[in-house]
Amino acid sequence: MELSSFFLMRHEMVLLAIALILIIAEILIPKQKKSSAVHLAIFLFGIHTALGFFPLEESSLFGGMFRTNSLIHFFKNVLNIGVFILLLQSADWIQEKIVKLNRGTEFFILLFFSLLGMYFMISAGDFLMFYIGMELSTIPVAALAAFELVKRSSSEAGIKLILSAAMASGISLFGISMLYATSGSIYFHDIIEVITSNNLTILGFVLFFAGLAFKISLVPFHFWTADVYEGAPISVASYLSVISKGAAVFILMILMFTVLKPLMEVWENMIYVIALATMFVGNLFALRQQNMKRFLAFSSIAQAGFILLGLITGTQLGTASVVYFVMIYIFSNLAAFGVVQAISLKTGKENIDDYNGLYRTNPKLSLIMLLALFSLAGIPPVAGFFGKFFLYTAAASEGYYLLVFLAVVNVTISLYYYLLVVRAMFLRTNENPIPFFNNKLYMRLGLGITVIGIMVLGLYSPLYDYIYELSAVFNQ
């Protein structure tokens, strides 16, 4: 193996280097200048995001443990952009609240290690690498969820997340061991050859699926979601709901469409039921929420249900639609979380009722929220409409008309609660509204990028065609 082939792991190596630089910086930067570490981290990650766009060869390393191809590469870039926006949005929070506690750099280091785990997880060529990646991506997030040490609910969120995540990954590992028992290998390309639909394999698959379903927060593995989102810092909730979920969906899809394809008869029905349950539970529970974080938690559960509409197909159309939707979802959800973040930071208010009359004092923030919610609900002409429409098309192409219909009924339900927020912001008035405030540069950038994404990603059609071409790798 040549040394140059390590460049296939460019994303991973650069990110690791950044994390190490930050550790050194933590030591070197004097205590009163700690906030400069925030600028350094954002700057370095910005460079990393830009570097990611350089083309990369398609190959594998370590005897197939690690692989990369154009779709994986593309998806890593999507994750990078998402994390970059997230960093911009949380910069103010870190500078105002966390640097004082002398833990600013820590936040970035933990976040980057978790992202590194996701890289490995989606690039995995065997179950071992996959499992290591999954663990690496989860454990730092639990520490992040408990980051606001002064808040008890934050510690509660951390402990809830780590306990349930450990349980889930244990179950997943148990499932993997069964798959190994039946196929005699942990390498994906070996398993594809020998996998057949027998009882032990199916049991192994179901247990394995449960572990990932936990990360995507599919019903019935969603119970941790709302509590953790509510307790954790908003940046971390936002990270869990977009980046972590996106990566898990991606690897689950790849595995199901390639390695586990022979089991399609089994997982088709399973996904059908879970998709419906996830959409209905997520949407119906979201109806009664008062806290914006819990509200977005249930909304993100429901969104995961929609993603399954693409997963059920097992086709190239499905792959492309899921990747496209996840990308749009990252932008939309980050915009919504960003606004919640900005308001919470300035005023500490997180309830929907607190948003009453927001438009009259903060029109820009309200409009961004409006766009984000419309995109989540799938109202044209913003991007979410196209994302959802193509998911429906993918599902309908396999004849799932009833599922599509029930999904669109769910959109109507979801529209109700999204409109509740719109109602609070635009229709209602408030004697004691959230006062006008200006956001700092980082937050404005972070929100601006999401708005551009929401407006442009849908209407700009070559993007979808590009993703469709890339998706061919996993659907031969």
Partner: protein, 495 residues
């Protein structure tokens, strides 16, 4: 830029201009100028179409076809025929009149006109689209601003009405979406590629089973917007809570999307499904015609009276479309136009009466003819047009509808037609009742004696709407010629 895309681009430009305005004065001027240009464009389109039609024999003219999402064969595909030209003209007149009527919107004026124009963009886009995907896209764009328009600037239980309206219409679009996808995945039945293009799908023989399955989905999906009984309940509440200009646009234009969509998509692409299901929907729409008329008699709120009258009149549009023949269809299109102008006029007048008296309850009003003669006289004229008096547009439309409906020779159609015709009598009752109680008789309230007369912007708005009503009534032939010619290709499927 082609002549049709301008109808979508111009409102967007006006919206962008509006964003930079400050205060009511600037906002309404920009909105007015923009709407006048749109009206000019619509009139120009009408003449251009009449000229083009004589030399060009294709179903749609001024077409333009740009590939959008290649993978799904989604195109930005636009074109017009006589029917869409007429409806575009209707829209532009009502939008302009609506801007005049909203001359004194003090609360968030900029946002009001922006929402109004977003709605208009959606409507124009819907009328020029000949691709199912773009059509659906514009349909939803047209519906969603209603939530803000009713919710922010409305009156009464506005939050409830706005939510009810939005959810019912979006729920209907769920059916529509499944129907559209159903058509799309059956569009390769003859071996061609999958397509959303209406013209291409019309050439395909979609299997009978699929037509039977998807016709009701598409029909109901569109017809909810056209207030099909029993899915009409959003309409009275929505109208009652909406501000005047929004009621005008809503009843005048938005509800027309329903009938137009039924005609363009459900009837044209799924003719066998239409023949199979027509009896069922005829019963529903005839029920709506009768029910709407009787419900209007019992109401005392002016807006509710007109909303139920709309349910009745638009039920007639769907009823006529389901009769599946040329005369009835011609009547349906004429009724759409005539009802558009008429209802918009009604709602404009109701708005004027309401701003002066602060009540819409007819039992509290009386003798208005003596106090505000101009508004009252126009109200009487609109009423007479609504009950189908010869010389106004309503008569031409209803005549065509019932003659067409009676051409079906079997018992079922004839009985239903006879029952529906009786709604005309009921219409006369509720119109004349309002005129009698509200306009005639003694003035019931001393303070009404000093009500201000109509201002210049109100007069302009009203006259804009009155002219076409009389115009269509007196000289219907040029319009119905244009419509009849455009109907020809649509008839081949069902005859």
């Amino acid at each position: 830029m082609d002549i049709l895309s301008l109808f979508v681009v111009l409102p967007v430009l006006v919206i962008i201009a509006l964003i930079f305005t400050k205060g009511l004065k600037q906002a309404r001027q920009i909105a007015m100028v923009g709407s006048i240009i749109q009206l000019g464009m619509a009139i120009n389109l009408l003449f251009a179409y009449l000229k083009e039609q004589s030399i060009n024999d294709s179903i749609f003219v001024f077409t333009r076809d740009i590939v959008w999402f290649e993978e799904f064969n989604i195109h930005y595909n636009i074109g017009v025929d006589g029917i869409s030209v007429a409806l575009i003209l209707l829209t532009s007149i009502i939008v302009l009149a609506g801007v005049f009527i909203s001359w004194k919107t003090y609360d968030l004026p900029k946002e009001f006109f922006v929402s109004l124009l977003v709605l208009a963009t959606g409507v124009y886009g819907f009328f020029i689209s000949i691709d199912l995907f773009t059509m659906f896209l514009f349909y939803e764009i047209a519906v969603i601003p209603m939530y803000l328009l009713i919710g922010i600037w409305g009156s009464g239980p506005k939050e409830y009405s706005a939510m009810k309206l939005t959810l019912m219409l979006m729920g209907a679009s769920a059916l529509l979406l499944v129907g559209i996808l159903g058509i799309y995945f059956n569009s390769n039945a003859d071996g061609g590629p999958l397509t959303f293009s209406i013209l291409e799908i019309a050439q395909v023989n979609i299997p009978f089973e699929a037509q039977k399955l998807f016709f009701p989905l598409i029909f109901i999906g569109f017809a909810v917007l056209g207030a099909l009984f029993p899915f009409h309940t959003w309409s009275p509440d929505g109208h009652a809570s909406a501000p005047t200009a929004v009621s005008m646009l809503h009843a005048g234009v938005l509800m027309k999307l329903g009938g137009y969509g039924v005609f363009r998509v459900a009837m044209f692409l799924l003719p066998q499904g239409a023949m199979e299901w027509s009896w069922f929907f005829i019963i529903l729409s005839a029920t709506g015609v009768i029910y709407g008329a009787f419900a209007a008699i019992r109401q005392t709120d002016l807006k509710y009276i007109n909303a139920y009258s709309s349910v009745s009149h638009l039920g007639l549009v769907l009823f006529a479309l389901l009769m599946l023949n040329k005369t009835a269809w011609n009547g349906a299109i004429l009724q759409s136009l005539s009802h558009g102008f008429m209802t918009a006029l009604f709602f404009a007048l109701i708005g004027m009466i309401y701003t002066r008296t602060n009540t819409r309850d007819i039992t509290k009003l009386g003798g208005l003819l003596k106090v505000i003669p101009f508004i009252s006289v126009i109200y009487v004229i609109a009423g007479l047009a609504s009950l189908g008096l010869p010389g106004f547009s309503g008569f031409v439309a209803e005549m065509n509808i019932f003659v067409g409906a009676f051409q079906n020779e079997d018992m079922f159609h004839r009985v239903v037609t006879i029952i529906s015709v009786s709604a005309i009598v009921v219409t006369a009752v509720y119109i004349l009742r309002v005129v009698g109680i509200m306009l005639m008789g003694p003035v019931k309230n001393e303070s009404y004696l000093s009500l201000p007369q109509a201002t210049w912007y109100e007069t302009t708005g009203v006259l804009l709407l009155l002219l076409p009503i009389v115009g269509i009534g007196v000289a219907p032939l040029w319009l119905s010629d244009m419509i009849l010619k455009s109907l020809q290709p649509f008839l081949q499927g069902v005859l």
